[in-house]
Symmetry: C2
Subunit: 197 residues, 2 copies
């Protein structure tokens, strides 16, 4: 059995990353979606282990002390992070792991594990990203402009990524993700010992 | 329109590379298969421009002088080489180019054009490669052993390649080639300017 690999998927707010990932998981139930840990309180309907691994601040800080996170950060007074153990267990089972994570978290992970494959999901154009953010109807025009501003900063990081998937047509974006996962399992380092033995 | 890319496909005798490429081209008629140039005389049924570009020795050497080959070599008194012009014309049209070429030729091309993607087609095992070479029934047992010996040397080069496709099941090998072609078109350098403009 071939060991699984870890794939980071980043992308700006409004790009449709969640939709793309949902469509990918609908076709590839073998994939493991990494669930983050957090110290913030569960919201109504949130299930421990599904939406987040809910931890106390002490538990979280002890895990930091034992270097048990691939990445972690603080945000409005709470910790958020990616525990190593679930990721590693899934890879041991031969499952590929998908980490939905923003740019700074991706940088932390790749510093620790440079073999991690980084995929950035981008919009077809700025106009289209603005249109999508506006169409959601959840944000004020000012908030939409803030998100666009932040997207511009994040898009600057896309060139550090291994791949850039453009979410123009959903089906095409999913096909590209599947192709990237497949191609990354064709690296000589992972397969050569099978033949050369 | 996105510019095409060049993909080198190498692999030892008996691995089934031609079968895999034929199946790939049956599904992807947009691909361009690079035709070599040679100074050897056409054999019966060989068509100029289809099987080879047949050149005189003078023509070939003038092209070498003008640096018009991606790679070239001499073999039993004749020249063989890959003219740049057809490859470049196809890429300009947005077509991906497949070069069926052995390890030394691949090294020459990548020295000139490091962006070329290298794919090695390998056998599932040595036993299976020996079985396939024997099953062809065209070689003496001594010749089969020579080919196996040469395959062992070539397989040492597989680790220099970007990808290793194992031809165990034909359909799977073709799927992997298609995935590699697709994934390589998702590189940020090729797409980022579309968004950042």
């Amino acid at each position: 059995m071939q060991r699984g690999k870890t794939f980071i998927v980043s992308g700006p707010s409004g790009v449709g990353k969640s939709t793309v990932l949902k469509a990918l998981f609908a076709q590839r139930s073998d994939l493991y979606f990494s669930v983050s840990a957090t110290t913030r309180a569960p919201r109504e309907g949130e299930v421990d282990g599904t939406h987040y691994h809910f931890l106390t601040q002490t538990e979280f800080e002890e895990m930091i002390g034992r270097d048990e996170f691939l990445e972690h950060a603080q945000y409005v007074g709470n910790y958020y992070g990616t525990p190593k153990k679930y990721v590693d267990a899934a890879m041991e089972e031969g499952r590929d792991v998908i980490l939905d994570i923003e740019v700074q978290g991706a940088q932390q992970i790749c510093a620790k594990r440079p073999e991690t494959v980084r995929i950035f999901v981008g919009p077809p154009s700025w106009q289209e990203l603005e249109r999508r953010l506006t169409a959601r109807g959840t944000d004020t025009p000012e908030k939409v402009q803030q998100r666009l501003q932040r997207a511009r900063v994040e898009m600057q990081s896309a060139e550090e990524y291994d791949y850039l998937v453009i979410n123009d047509q959903l089906e095409q974006a999913v096909e590209e993700l599947k192709a990237i996962l497949c191609a990354e399992h064709c690296r000589p380092a992972d397969r050569l010992d099978r033949i050369l033995e």
